[in-house]
């Protein structure tokens, strides 16, 4: 112990991290607020304001030359923060965790007194910038994030600068701007190379990003007539699609999603056993030939369905086809997904090898419900003499001729006989009501039927992408007709056009480039830019990376990819080094270049200056080797050394004199050369 103490005495005293100046605090505060503004997109306004207030309060305390607030206040504030996160976000999920981090950072900033605190704050702010992309990855948001990023590095620079050195002269500013521009010019391609070549993961190694606590609307595995109204007024994009060899009419495209079989009188549900278990065996069903090739960029849904136009035939995505032609991924689609696929447009879904099961499921009805519907269907059955096709037509005619209205404003059901209520009492509803009651009618008539949900319609942007929004969500029916398979019937389309609620029609109207206002056009242009961003940047994944490398002639396994990546990073690093330390960039002072000329001149006569030798010693060496030039060499060295060690402010270096002496030396050397 004594020895240790003695050793300690010889050590330099521990250096305390320097105190934070007001300027430095301002820089970190600006960087933090820049980042906070980005998170304000999803944070509750009260939380954002409270956080900003804490930082503002601290700034005010500094202005008043007061210390940071007392230490005991930390605990109550921390508890307050925990409570706020608990009540507002319900724990530490994605939003709760981010909010917690933001709050902790604000508290940390409020008690920052030293540089080390500020360094921590800046680093965590950088982390928060990256975290912001959990909430939004659009191009505008990403571009905005460059602002807090630059602010962070601006703050870091200030934190390590001597106060006297950050003078705001025009010269210093221009120099700093040039330097920053150069650094960015080098960092940008390096970033891009890392991003393109760094090996990607095929599947998450841990966890899955939870988007669920962000109330996403979308098609789900169950359908309750009337429940889709929220979705139908949501005009956010569900997915964008581009077709390879055609541009089909959006109204012909029924994008197939969850298929519903089980009805309990209120809610339709999928056939979970079929969804997860038995997969479509290609030989089971005679698949029609594909006639449509397309590419889809699906926005995150937090559900496993991929949407393909009826009838889906194949996809390159890592997904399975169920027996009822749903396309399902193992995991939910948590980030933008880009996939290609083929479809057989207009073909009915073939009945699988499990014909008996499909019949059975397709006829199941909750017992004792909707007696009026059953009676009506019995009456039709007698009229049509049991022909299924005729019965379908009869039902559609019923929707067209009776006063059925299409509207998103529907009445609440009052009894358990909901289909009866809709068909005979209300007669106002939207796609879910029509599809649901139609399927119930068909099943009552002994025709196997099922509800299919998905998307219908959309509009083409000028960049060729078909934009399908949440408001394009739709539900329709499929009936099993002997010899034809599952035939699509869209009972909603049977409603007479004049009985469509104009409000709903306006809500569901698609914008058009030709007829739209300038606002519409601007929106569509922005969408096109966003689409480019989505497909070029956000949809880049392991598969795209592999195909990119394959295009470069690299098809090997991960070893090869790792080598490519290392090679690319080294190559980019070499380019960076070259740009920064290029010999051609090395600026020599005119004086130094004059001396270099002298050296070259005497080197031609065999006099080499060892790197460690000073100019004067070298002059003696040269004089000894070339005696005839000795006076000139000494004179040159004398003038050179005087200029070299004169204070820079004294006078400009006597370059002309030096050049004259060099000329003289050259002459002397030439004359002394033996002929």
């Amino acid at each position: 112990m004594a020895r240790l103490a003695a050793e300690d005495a010889s050590l330099p005293a521990p250096v305390q991290s320097p105190a934070l100046t007001r300027h430095q605090f301002d820089r970190i505060a600006i960087a933090f607020v820049g980042c906070l503004l980005a998170h304000a997109v999803w944070l509750p306004i009260s939380f954002t304001l409270a956080t900003a207030a804490v930082v503002g309060l601290r700034r005010w305390l500094i202005t008043q030359q007061l210390k940071a607030w007392p230490g005991w206040i930390r605990l109550p504030l921390l508890i307050l923060l925990l409570l706020a996160v608990r009540t507002q976000f319900g724990g530490l999920g994605k939003t709760g965790g981010s909010a917690m981090l933001i709050g902790l950072l604000a508290l940390k900033m409020a008690e920052s007194e030293r540089r080390r605190d500020a360094l921590l704050v800046v680093t965590i702010t950088l982390f928060l910038i990256a975290m912001g992309f959990l909430f939004n990855q659009s191009m505008g948001f990403t571009l905005y994030m460059l602002v807090p990023t630059l602010l962070c590095f601006w703050a870091l620079n200030e934190l390590h600068a001597h106060p006297g050195q950050s003078a705001l002269s025009v010269h210093a500013l221009r120099r700093a701007a040039l330097r920053t521009a150069r650094a960015i010019a080098i960092a940008a391609p390096l970033t891009l190379a890392l991003w393109l070549f760094f090996p990607r993961l095929g599947a998450p190694l841990w966890g899955k990003p939870d988007v669920s606590d962000e109330a996403t609307v979308g098609l789900s595995e169950q359908m309750r007539p009337g429940g889709m109204a929220d979705l139908l007024i949501d005009d956010r994009v569900a997915f964008r699609a581009r077709f390879r060899n055609a541009s089909p009419d959006p109204n012909e495209l029924y994008w197939r999603g969850p298929v519903m079989w089980r009805f309990d009188g209120e809610t339709w549900r999928g056939q979970t056993r079929w969804m997860r278990g038995a997969q479509l065996n290609r030989s089971d069903a005679a698949l029609p030939p594909a006639n449509l090739r397309f590419e889809v960029m699906l926005e995150p849904t937090d559900r496993p369905w991929l949407f393909l136009p009826d009838l889906p035939i194949s996809t390159d995505a890592d997904a399975n086809f169920s027996l009822d032609f749903q396309v399902l991924r193992e995991n939910a689609v948590a980030s933008l997904l880009r996939y290609q696929g083929t479809s057989a447009l207009g073909s009915p879904a073939p009945v699988s090898a499990y014909l008996q099961s499909e019949r059975e499921w397709g006829l199941a009805l909750p017992p004792g419900l909707n007696p009026r519907t059953a009676a009506l269907v019995q009456q039709w059955l007698q009229e049509s003499a049991g022909d299924p096709a005729q019965l379908v037509q009869r039902a559609l005619r019923y929707f067209r001729n009776e006063p059925f209205y299409y509207s998103l404003e529907t009445q609440e059901f009052g009894t358990v006989h909901r289909v009866d209520e809709f068909l005979f009492d209300f007669r106002v509803g939207f796609c879910q009501h029509y599809a649901s009651s139609f399927v119930v009618m068909m099943r009552s008539a002994g025709i196997p039927a099922r509800v299919v949900t998905g998307f219908h319609g959309g509009y083409y942007n000028f960049d060729g992408f078909l934009i399908v929004r949440n408001s394009n969500a739709h539900a329709w029916a499929e009936v099993m007709l002997p010899g034809r398979g599952w035939v699509r019937v869209d009972p909603t389309a049977a409603v007479a056009p004049e009985r469509v609620d104009p409000n709903a029609a306006a809500l569901l109207a698609d914008p058009s480039w030709e007829t739209g206002s300038w606002l519409t056009r601007m929106k569509m242009s922005l969408d096109a830019v966003g689409t480019w961003w989505n497909q070029a940047v956000l949809a880049f994944d392991l598969k795209r990376q592999q195909s990119m490398l394959a295009q470069m002639g690299l098809t090997g396994g991960w070893e090869q990819r790792a080598m490519v990546m290392v090679g690319a990073v080294i190559a980019v690093g070499a380019v960076v080094g070259l740009i920064m330390w290029a010999p051609w960039r090395r600026r020599q002072t005119p004086l130094a270049s004059t001396y270099a000329r002298f050296e070259r001149l005497v080197a031609s006569r065999g006099a080499q200056r060892p790197t460690s030798m000073g100019a004067l010693s070298f002059a003696h060496l040269v004089s000894a080797q070339i005696p005839i030039a000795a006076p000139t060499v000494m004179a040159f060295t004398d003038v050179y050394l005087q200029a070299r060690f004169a204070s820079a402010a004294d006078q400009p270096p006597p370059l002309q004199e030096l050049r004259d002496l060099l000329q003289k030396l050259k002459r002397q050397l030439r004359e002394s050369t033996p002929a």
Binding site: T123, T142, M145, H160, H162, A187, V537, R586
Partner: protein, 326 residues
């Protein structure tokens, strides 16, 4: 606490090892330039923390294939890599051109000025450390910077310049780059003057004290001010007249017609050992200079003077500094 101490000890021994390694190299004449071979660079503690956070960001974004976050994670990494080059470049090509060390007395601070030149690229926040003292290199323009620091002068004789460490963490503090200069420069350290004002050894004729009273009254002429002159002797009016042509202050020189020469002899100086005697002699020399007396210094066989003036004083102090050393 324990880790902080362990870290400090590790850093300390690392620095010592670096300096030992350096001391085996030959000192080289100026100017010397820092280059790839002589610049070292390591991440700072903050740099390591930053790297950790970057690993988390890149790892997390790869896991969830969040391309925007990944893009920014790599941007942060790329900025750090570029900053490494910038930190290195901040030292690369920096030359130590000139070192000036002023003589001082043992126990005082030895002041040194160092002049650095660049190859035309401006430098930012370069720190210079020499022994326990250091400062920021201040640039008058893009080409030249100066720094001054003061180190302890411990004992008389020649004191050579300890290694000069040049370091920087600019621009972001993620990397620490450093290099050493060890120019062949030395300063003469005069002996430590004895404390107090011991009586000057007046020669035996006993007239010293009485005559001294009349000193100072006989105006002999004017000369330039040199540091150490009593302000009372500055001829302000004459200086002011001269000021118009930008000159210096003038001081009155006084005739001491009857003041006897002083003799400072090491052999007869009081003191227990040579060092104490040298201290006494040093103090006497300073006092005699202040009083503007003529004095002679006898160091064994070597005799200086009798003479007066700053040049004589420096000669005497130099001889005292090197007495018995070389």
């Amino acid at each position: 606490m324990f880790f902080a101490r362990a870290r400090r000890r590790l850093l300390h021994s690392f620095n010592q090892a670096m300096e030992r390694m350096l001391s085996r190299r030959a000192r080289a004449p100026l100017p010397r330039t820092l280059s790839r071979q002589s610049i070292y660079i390591l991440p700072t503690r903050f740099g390591c923390f930053y790297a950790l956070v970057m690993i988390v960001i890149v790892g997390g974004s790869l896991n969830f294939n969040n391309n925007s976050a990944l893009l920014f994670g790599f941007l942060f990494v790329a900025i750090a890599i570029v900053s490494m080059h910038q930190t290195f470049g901040n030292l690369n090509g920096l030359s130590l051109v000139q070192v000036r060390m002023d003589s001082c007395h043992a126990g005082d601070r030895l002041h040194l000025w160092m002049r650095f030149a660049t190859d035309g690229d401006p430098r930012n926040d370069v720190r210079i450390d020499c022994a326990a003292s250091g400062g920021l290199l201040l640039f008058a323009d893009d080409n030249e910077g100066v720094v001054s620091c003061a180190i302890d002068a411990e004992r008389r004789g020649w004191q050579s310049l300890p290694p000069v460490r040049v370091s920087t963490v600019w621009p972001f503090g993620l990397f620490y780059a450093w290099g050493y200069f060890w120019p062949d420069a030395r300063a003469l350290i005069y002996p430590r003057p004895e404390r107090g004002r011991p009586e000057l050894p007046e020669d035996g004729d006993g007239l010293g004290l009485r005559r001294r009273r009349s000193y100072g009254d006989d105006f002999a002429g004017l000369r330039d001010y040199v540091s150490g002159d009593s302000p009372r002797r500055i001829a302000w009016r004459a200086s002011a007249k001269r000021d118009s042509d930008g000159g210096q202050l003038l001081v009155r020189t006084l005739e001491h017609p009857s003041a006897p020469d002083l003799v400072f002899d090491l052999a007869t100086a009081p003191g227990n050992d040579t060092e104490q005697k040298l201290s006494r002699l040093t103090r006497w020399v300073l006092m005699a200079q202040q009083a503007e007396r003529r004095y002679k210094l006898v160091l064994g066989e070597k005799t200086l003077g009798p003479d007066s003036g700053p040049a004589h004083r420096d000669r005497c102090l130099g001889a005292l500094a090197l007495y018995g050393i070389g």
